[in-house]
Symmetry: C2
Subunit: 450 residues, 2 copies
């Protein structure tokens, strides 16, 4: 009985993907069945079949400059080992698994797999490896038969990798980049332990929530005995037409002003670490994550014009106040007939603007989150207490240096932004995301082995 | 300044939808831009443009027999009013809002809206109403510009609508259907207050998570002063080829055996209330919701063959043990050469099978959920304590009568199922979902006004 599974292998994700890609490569047009459904998915718009896979290897880690997927599962981990060698082995195993999963493979290769020929759902015959029933599963299988849905897995290192309570536990303390600062406490911060910190982080993004969940789950399983999950957060974006910014849960278009990910000059200026950083960080970036709870019930009681004053933009069009179109420039000097600024002094758009921050820009790549309802007390009048939405924004921002990026901008925002009436930062972390890797290398190798 | 928003209206969801539907209705094939992306979405497979909207009005409420969407936001409410008239007014307002949102309209009509002509993203010119800046928003706008994504909103009545603590608060106690039982306590139940019960429930399903969230948020806002949220749960399904069951977080295909929603005979036999019920429940159904937490880390340590024994099916193929294909019949009489049953006596598939329960079937319409990690203790060896995934299944099952449906089946399952080592029911509720309504009626009217 225990070996029945050996004879019962179903289609692997990779075998399935291969058959789909082949169909498309043959230029067969939109066929019936799954291949058509997937290739025509709006998440894939403008993409060729080969691009259903986001490449894992490269100068930069995937998931930073990558066009944003619809879902994220973000997780941070605590290292529980005392050995640097364990950390190296973990990062090596994670790198291999992340590459495999990005291509639609199982997380780990099958140790005693059979090679079997079966007919996948899309037709045709493929040979592939499946785990035998008697071995521990190398993959928990909830994505079996699914496409990779543009999965990216991005790794980052928190301060705890370099030292913990003043203890240089892996001999890496001297290598901590200056840019990986201790995050200052900002006015209004209410960071709770259960959603804050982490020695390592994993950002799994995909156009399917189960694919993102699956990726984190496999990495956590692989980490057993070396690192354990500290906190996680799932997030989503709404489906909007290509190139249009999504609306966040405040009902406003978010991410209108962002460095252009397809412009290397802007990316090098604002996002990628260059030669000013340690060698292992070159091509990498610093991630500031913040779990931002929004007092939605309170916000919903404000009228739309007031909401516009808070944001500095018109709610429906996304245009800067006083303008017509979302892409119209933010004219911070414009005044009304009484000489008052059209974009209020303490509006979010003004305070975040590059022009208000010495030219600083960060690459925001956040997601809305919805964790149901729980007990809370509002921070501002009418100070309501009770069950409220635990929903808001998983803010994820990449930058060349947090001191000249998030910290510079948020120092002002946290003190003056009218929006602070409605939002509370309740968790987060700071992570150094190293440069990418070539096949045969692993993420962080140049730090760990140097 | 406060009236700027008047001049800044963006495209309404309806205007947008109209332009898309028109394109498709003209048989223009797959055009470029948003219309193409949406119409080609796999969630819409096999559907005409008009079917991007799931009809709200009808003999049955939408969201029960409707092909399952990818996302759910489920919410239950406590009534805080003492007046039956308030309940009637709430259900009337909810009905109107649910219909409007299902068609991509704002939740409430605009009281002082302008009529404005603008050019939506898809081209063309449309006239529509938008709220003025000076009125309270009639919609929180996070779905503005989006299609309805097959939104359905399904309403149910919990025991608390009929009486609360023995008090007949709305004069409806005598109308409580016998089938709306007090749910028995089952072995292993660990229902926590924060995820249990509710006087009313709302199941919002859509192919986009923000559309589902938006629907519940508008209904909660409309309910202010009459009802308040008690608990909520978001859930998702993975994207799989048309007609294939999705895998749950245990990695197994779920929902292989279900009444056929396109077969009126099966639906009448198992799902829809007929003349045996009170008149207002005819065409309705009873919903049993359970929040089922799965000890995923524990499950992942089991080998695949053992997992198959627990479920009674092969993990990868979904076939019953000893069979080849997922659609092969579950042969409960099959034995191996030693005379032992191939499908174990205490396997999940055997215990849930109609043949094991006097022919009983329920329509399962559940979703996986992922609420991150939190502290828990496992119920079975190795009794691990610590941060574990708060993830699993939001089980939603519809049936003609819970006494001959869920309760009959789960009485046995809760006592004997091997799967109970890995799953814990941590919340839920029972709800009478009345029949559907015609335009001009509201959901539950035949109960409230009779």
């Amino acid at each position: 009985m225990m070996n029945d599974e050996d004879k019962q292998a179903g289609p692997s994700r990779r075998a399935f993907f291969k058959s789909t890609a082949t169909l498309a490569a043959a230029g067969a047009g939109l066929a019936t069945g799954h291949a058509r459904d997937v290739l025509a998915d709006p998440a894939m718009r403008g993409m060729q079949a080969g691009n259903l896979v986001e490449p894992f290897w490269g100068m930069h880690q995937a998931g930073i400059g990558t066009p944003q997927q619809r879902h994220v599962y973000f997780a941070t981990f605590e290292l529980t080992t005392a050995e640097r060698g364990d950390v190296a082995a973990l990062l090596k195993a994670w790198t291999l698994a992340a590459d495999r999963m990005s291509r639609g493979e199982t997380a780990e290769p099958m140790k005693t797999g059979l090679r079997t020929a079966i007919a996948p759902a899309g037709g045709g015959t493929h040979a592939y490896a499946m785990p035998s029933a008697s071995e521990q599963a190398a993959d928990t299988a909830e994505t079996m038969g699914m496409l990779p849905y543009r999965l990216t897995v991005t790794f980052g290192f928190g301060p705890g990798l370099f030292s913990q309570g003043g203890h240089d536990r892996y001999g890496l303390a001297a290598k901590r980049p200056q840019a990986l600062v201790v995050m200052p406490h900002f006015p209004g911060d209410q960071l709770v332990e259960a959603h804050t910190g982490g020695d390592l982080c994993v950002q799994a993004c995909a156009d399917d929530p189960q694919v993102a969940f699956h990726a984190v789950r496999q990495l956590a399983r692989i980490a057993a005995g070396v690192a354990k999950i500290r906190w996680t957060q799932a997030g989503f974006l709404p489906q909007v037409p290509a190139g249009q910014p999504a609306r966040n849960l405040m009902g406003f278009k978010d991410g209108i002003i962002n460095p252009a990910t397809d412009d290397p000059r802007q990316m090098n200026q604002f996002v990628w670490v260059g030669t000013e950083g340690p060698e292992w960080m070159q091509g990498g970036s610093y991630l500031v994550a913040r779990r931002i709870r929004i007092a939605l019930a309170h916000w919903d009681q404000m009228n739309v014009a007031f909401q516009g004053q808070v944001v500095g933009r018109h709610k429906y069009s996304g245009a800067p106040l006083g303008q017509k179109h979302e892409s119209d420039p933010l004219d911070l000097k414009a005044t009304d007939k009484d000489g008052n600024p059209i974009i209020p002094e303490n509006s979010h758009a003004r305070l975040c603007a590059a022009a208000s921050n010495g030219g600083a820009m960060i690459l925001r790549r956040g997601y809305s989150y919805n964790d149901g309802v729980n007990l809370t007390a509002e921070r501002w009048p009418p100070w309501r207490e009770g069950l409220e939405y635990d929903a808001g924004l998983l803010f994820l921002a990449y930058q060349k240096d947090p001191r000249t990026g998030f910290i510079r901008i948020f120092d002002k925002v946290s003190r003056f932004d009218m929006m602070n009436q409605f939002v509370t930062h309740v968790g987060g972390g700071i992570f150094a995301c190293p440069g990418g890797a070539k096949p045969g290398e692993y993420i962080g190798q140049r730090l760990i082995e140097a």
